[in-house]
Symmetry: C2
Subunit: 131 residues, 2 copies
């Protein structure tokens, strides 16, 4: 069951949001993307930006993190499993591989009898431009 896959309609708004998030390699929140679009003259609504980014993340097009203060931030994502090193001050993001981690996850699952283990692994730091 690859389950419930709905193909969304191709609306002007969806294209605008997709372009806006693709235009920047840093993680950005729905509000930030919305602001950016409005400044460019778009009339897209805030709720639409929220809904579109959520849908894109659910379909795997975007990656999600939670900022240290709890907001959800999105970024266009390289396909395949990986993690992120995010600059606390400017949001600049590097995708990183953690080759050992998947094996570790399986080992931990077995050891403690947990099923459907998911891991959330993010690194936060200060990038060289912001130091």
């Amino acid at each position: 069951m690859t389950s419930t896959e709905r193909t969304p309609r191709n609306t002007r708004q969806r294209a605008e949001v997709r372009d806006a998030v693709a235009a920047n390699p840093a993680f950005a929140t729905s509000q930030t993307i919305h602001d950016r679009l409005r400044h460019e003259g778009s009339k897209v609504g805030l709720a639409t930006v929220y809904r579109t980014l959520q849908a894109m993340a659910a379909s795997g097009e975007l990656d999600t993190i939670r900022t240290p203060d709890g907001q959800i931030a999105y970024r266009t994502c390289t396909p395949g499993h990986h993690h992120h090193l995010v600059c606390r001050s400017c949001g600049r993001t590097v995708e990183i591989d953690l080759p050992g981690l998947e094996a570790t996850t399986r080992r931990i699952a077995g050891e403690y009898g947990f099923a459907e283990i998911d891991h959330e692994v993010e690194f936060f730091g200060t990038c060289s431009s912001c130091a």
Copy 2:
């Protein structure tokens, strides 16, 4: 600079919160702890529970995670650095060691020129009782 360490006053409320969080090995939110205390007859205020748990976490007495829906949850913490395997449905938590991770963090920091790297690593799954 081990910096600004203030010793909080020993109030009845602080003791009640400390006992309540220590009484349960699962992560719990401020609201949950507050409910629990009120049901036991305590008159402690919600804001006080928020403040007390925050302070205890800042001083290292408690560990913090963000639940998948974004709330902050606390748990009495074993001293020393470690990570958690948390049951999505009941909150039961196992503390785990990730021996290789600190070295990996340092390697990544060097590789990408990031400073003050912090890692957030949590595992979520379904425990055997909840399966």
